[in-house]
């Protein structure tokens, strides 16, 4: 009762055309013969089976694009119906209130579930990462840090050792030190890593192949109006959550952020199915998914506002203000839930939360901008190399061995990562250490500065000091880690396990930033008489914060890869909670975008969309070629004529043959073949279903029955078979343009209105049709790409 797609259909046509004409978008916006009002009257007269809507009308098949206009007007129609009904009785009023609230309820549920799942993932990753090294004897479910949490045996020099936590070698042989123990630990580390990644890839393969990858390119495509059935299904949700933990804890160079967005969108889809408002309308469903993406980023980075902006800037296609508020709410609930779980025990939402209060100086903008350049270069290198490698995987023998590939890459990663202390631990911990400022109490090697023995200052005001041997040691280890991360991430992203690239990108940037930071710091310390340092770096002052450089570097590299700007800066700002670092972050983000854009306009997600040939019509691209609608429309000059239906002379058999012989997704309906005056457009799926239902339920409909799209079927002699009236599934106001409309306008119409197809007419006569696929192909052709690579059914 909630949805009557058929009535929705007929009015919605009217609404659509009105909107188009109002916007002045189409040269010859559709002129339909029937106005919405008389359509309503007509609907009352129809006495055939179509009064009862049959299931599945107005739904889409797998790998098809949706018609945004149609979805939107279907929802308006549904809404109108509920409003008018709500005046009838109290119960209907309550129902309408519930309907109005359902959007917020869905958001609440999404927030709760995605926050919970993020908490589970964080806790499990924490534990499993440490499982590669050892085990907690008192309670096996504790990670290293949790195991030693209450221990009183930790000493100042060896802060994370406690007797409860034992490394594998210690547990097995009793020796904690020595070459034998090292080799055994090494061996077990690799073995665990291999086991985790093998489990991950086999679970993905057996239960949910769609759970692999980062998911953001596909979600972008889905949000732009593409249907991929099962991509946001329940099994995908379960398997992605489970295997994400395995993949991250196997020590591969990947992160959980992108997959968390996918997980949150799966939650969104799950809860959509509870409310017919969302489950039956693909357009409304996408509004929920946009908000779910925001919740995903919100829990991934502990940045609710950043999440909303990420959804707006990076993933969403259609983002009305209502969705903005709902995303805001979903992100809030998700962050709150995660905070309640408190997975890191530090009352923060992320492991690498930092808090500095040291100021920065104008002259430091130079190294920040240099880091931005580095980020841009890294982004370019990563995108080019990763796409080349993925193309290889797609086209050559390599793609035939996904399990072997994962195992091999994990083996190499683990073998190379173990000897270097900066790659052995989890990437989040590495970033956390690089972001942290060296206080007096830090025990890490990076903070091994030479202290002035008679210094006794409060802990948070440490002046610049000369670097000790530990720092120099750490520097070359970091340099090795940088090279390793750069190379291995290129091969890791795109394997058949859940893998995000935020964390590895940030790690690359943080390492580079920290190295630059330490270099600047030491330069300032040793040469504080130089003119540039003279003003802001007096001896004994705290003037350079290497951790800040690490953060700026991380932002720059992430920006170079994803081409985010506003949301990136906001995410980083929420990570640090320091307003004063917005300018350095902005400078780095914008520089990295400029540099990266100079080498190629597309970010990693757009590149992957293009590689896979998803039908994604990017709102950001500009179309500047001077072609006309008539150059793009089908049929072309030598093609057979357009497959059309006539309003009152086609038989059921003709229609069935037409459906069988062609694979078009819809057919224009004309007055007659001679005049070719357009009256409407009918979708293939609706037509198939209508005829099938009519044949089953309506007596007298046989192959020779005539199909009528007119308002009233003429009175026929009794000898003729009963006619089949199909006006209810006819879209009376298909979007039309004239043949001389420039493609620039047509592309704009497709983008802004989310059309699926558009008919081309000349003075009311139907000439041809332009579909979204034709537009995408044309654009690909204009950019000298292979137009056949675009996926579409």
């Amino acid at each position: 009762m909630h949805c009557c797609p058929l009535t929705g259909r007929s009015h919605c046509g009217g609404a659509g055309a009105g909107g188009g004409a109002g916007a002045g978008a189409g040269g010859g916006a559709g002129v339909s013969s029937a106005t919405p009002t008389d359509e309503m009257n007509g609907a009352g007269n129809l006495m055939d089976f179509l009064d009862e809507p049959f299931p599945d009308v107005g739904t889409y098949e797998d790998f098809h694009t949706i018609d945004w206009l149609r979805e939107k007007s279907r929802d308006t129609d549904r809404h109108r119906k509920i409003t008018s009904k709500s005046k009838e009785s109290f119960w209907e009023l309550i129902k309408s209130l519930l309907d109005a609230w359902s959007g917020w309820v869905v958001m609440l549920l999404i927030g709760l579930l995605s926050g919970t799942l993020a908490g589970v993932i964080d806790l499990a990753v924490d534990w499993m990462t440490d499982l590669k090294e050892g085990v907690c004897l008192t309670a096996f479910w504790y990670s290293h840090e949790q195991c030693c949490w209450t221990s009183n045996e930790t000493t100042f020099d060896d802060r994370d050792k406690c007797p409860q936590w034992q490394k594998w070698a210690e547990l097995m042989t009793g020796h904690a030190e020595g070459a034998g123990a090292y080799v055994l630990n090494y061996f077990l580390y690799v073995l665990w890593a291999l086991l985790f990644s093998f489990l991950a890839v086999s679970l993905v393969r057996v239960f949910a192949p769609y759970a692999c990858g980062s998911g953001i390119p596909e979600i972008k495509t889905i949000l732009s109006g593409f249907i991929i059935r099962g991509y946001l299904g329940k099994w995908t949700l379960l398997i992605k959550t489970v295997t994400l933990v395995l993949a991250v804890s196997s020590g591969l160079s990947l992160g959980k952020e992108g997959p968390l967005v996918h997980v949150a969108c799966c939650c969104g889809n799950l809860f959509c199915s509870l409310f017919s408002k969302y489950s039956k309308n693909e357009g409304k469903r996408r509004e929920v998914l946009s908000a779910a993406a925001a919740a995903g980023v919100s829990v991934a980075f502990g940045a609710p506002i950043g999440g909303v902006l990420f959804s707006l800037e990076e993933v969403s296609y259609y983002f009305p203000l209502k969705t903005l508020w709902r995303s805001f709410f979903a992100a809030l609930v998700a962050a709150f839930t995660l905070r309640a779980i408190n997975p890191f025990g530090n009352s923060r939402l992320v492991l690498f939360y930092v808090e500095y209060h040291t100021p920065w100086y104008m002259a430091e903008l130079v190294p920040f901008i240099l880091l931005g350049v580095f980020g841009g270069l890294w982004g370019t290198l990563f995108i080019k190399a990763n796409i080349a490698w993925c193309r290889r995987r797609k086209t050559t023998q390599l793609g035939k061995y996904p399990v072997l590939e994962v195992i091999a890459v994990t083996g190499i990663t683990a073998l190379l990562a173990f000897p270097n202390p900066y790659t052995r631990r989890s990437t989040s911990e590495l970033i956390s250490e690089l972001f942290n400022d060296c206080g007096a109490l830090e025990s890490s090697q990076l903070c091994d500065y030479i202290n002035n023995p008679n210094m006794s200052r409060p802990v948070d005001d440490i002046p610049d000091r000369p670097a000790g041997p530990g720092v120099y040691n750490a520097l070359w280890q970091l340099a090795l880690a940088l090279v390793f991360k750069i190379v291995i991430t290129i091969f890791t992203f795109g394997m058949k396990i859940p893998s995000g690239l935020f964390i590895p990108s940030m790690a690359v940037g943080a390492i580079a930033g920290r190295i630059v930071g330490i270099a600047v710091e030491q330069m300032a310390y040793h040469h504080h008489d130089w003119i540039i340092f003279k003003n802001w770096c007096r001896p004994g002052a705290d003037c350079v914060t290497p951790g800040l450089y690490a953060m700026v570097g991380a932002a720059a590299c992430l920006g170079g890869v994803t081409r985010m700007t506003v949301s990136l800066v906001v995410i980083m700002f929420e990570l640090t909670g320091g307003l004063e670092y917005i300018v350095p972050l902005m400078a780095a983000a914008v520089t990295s975008k400029w540099v990266a854009d100079a080498f190629g306009k597309e970010g990693i997600y757009e590149s992957h969309i293009q590689l896979n040939g998803y039908p994604y019509l990017d709102v950001r691209d500009e179309f500047t070629h001077r072609t006309l609608a008539t150059d793009v429309m089908r049929p072309r000059r030598n093609d057979p004529p357009l497959a059309v239906l006539t309003q009152d002379s086609t038989t059921v058999e003709d229609v069935e043959t037409l459906i069988k012989d062609t694979d078009y997704n819809g057919f224009p309906v004309v007055v007659s073949r001679e005049s070719e005056r357009l009256i409407g457009f009918v979708q293939r799926r609706d037509l198939t279903l209508a005829i099938k239902t009519a044949r089953q339920k309506q007596d007298g409909v046989v192959s020779s029955s005539v199909v009528y799209f007119t308002e009233d079927a003429p009175q026929l002699p009794a000898s003729n078979p009963q006619p089949l009236k199909l006006r209810r599934i006819l879209n009376l106001s298909p979007f039309t343009v004239t043949d001389h409309t420039p493609m620039e306008t047509v592309v704009d119409i497709f983008r802004k209105l989310g059309l699926r197809q558009c008919l081309v007419t000349r003075s009311g006569r139907l000439l041809g049709i332009i579909t979204k696929k034709d537009v995408l192909r044309h654009m690909a052709q204009m950019m000298n790409q292979d137009p056949e690579s675009i996926m579409f059914n």
């Binding site: 908490g119 806790l123 949490w149 100042f156 192949p209 596909e218 299904g233 329940k234 206080g439 109490l441």
Partner: protein
């Protein structure tokens, strides 16, 4: 959505509900004594070595004077010594950790068992009723393919077992389709 996914509902929902319930119990319970700590890190000072103090005190008592016991320095140095120490109050929920890890492991275990079942045992059972195969091939016609689950007779199986069986078959077909798309044709996600 399509009822083909109903089967997995039975999987996800109870897991989440259990998690919530167990967690609710955890929160209701009084805070475990080992779930709060005040950790003070004191760096080396004069000739005293650095030390870490770890005590279970309330948040307002979390400072050097309450936690550092016994005080290593003589009375007049306490203030200077305490200025160097950094005390942090932290909370965790050890029960949440325990419950989460155990649930996670059992989910992974269940999935692994089911995977082994599907890969090893299922083909042996299926061998006997090979006649079900042609039934699926009929569904290639267009309308059927659009919504195979709804009207096919097998979905309306009489017993619960048959219905589960039907749902499982549909799900398997979907996964097979996905596998073809991703792993064989490399149409997506490459």
């Amino acid at each position: 959505m399509s009822p083909g996914r109903e089967g997995s509902w039975t999987f996800v929902v109870p897991a989440v509900v259990t998690w919530f319930l167990l967690d609710a119990i955890v929160f209701v319970q009084a805070k475990n004594f080992e779930d709060v700590r005040c950790k003070c890190i004191c760096p080396p000072y004069r000739n005293f070595t650095g030390h870490i103090y770890n005590r279970n005190v309330s948040q307002k008592d979390c400072n050097c004077l309450h936690v550092v016991e016994p005080m290593p320095v003589p009375g007049h140095d306490v203030e200077a010594y305490c200025l160097l120490c950094e005390c942090k109050y932290e909370e965790r929920s050890s029960n949440t950790i325990k419950v989460t890890i155990i649930i996670y492991l059992s989910v992974v275990g269940a999935l692994l068992l089911y995977m082994l079942f599907l890969l090893l045992v299922d083909p042996l059972i299926r061998k006997h009723d090979a006649y079900t195969q042609p039934l699926h091939n009929e569904e290639d016609s267009e309308v059927q393919e659009m919504r195979p689950p709804v009207d096919s007779a097998q979905a309306k199986g009489n017993t619960v077992l048959e219905r589960v069986e039907g749902a499982q078959q549909r799900w398997k077909k979907q996964v097979q389709e996905q596998r073809k798309t991703v792993f064989d044709r490399h149409k997506m996600l490459s």
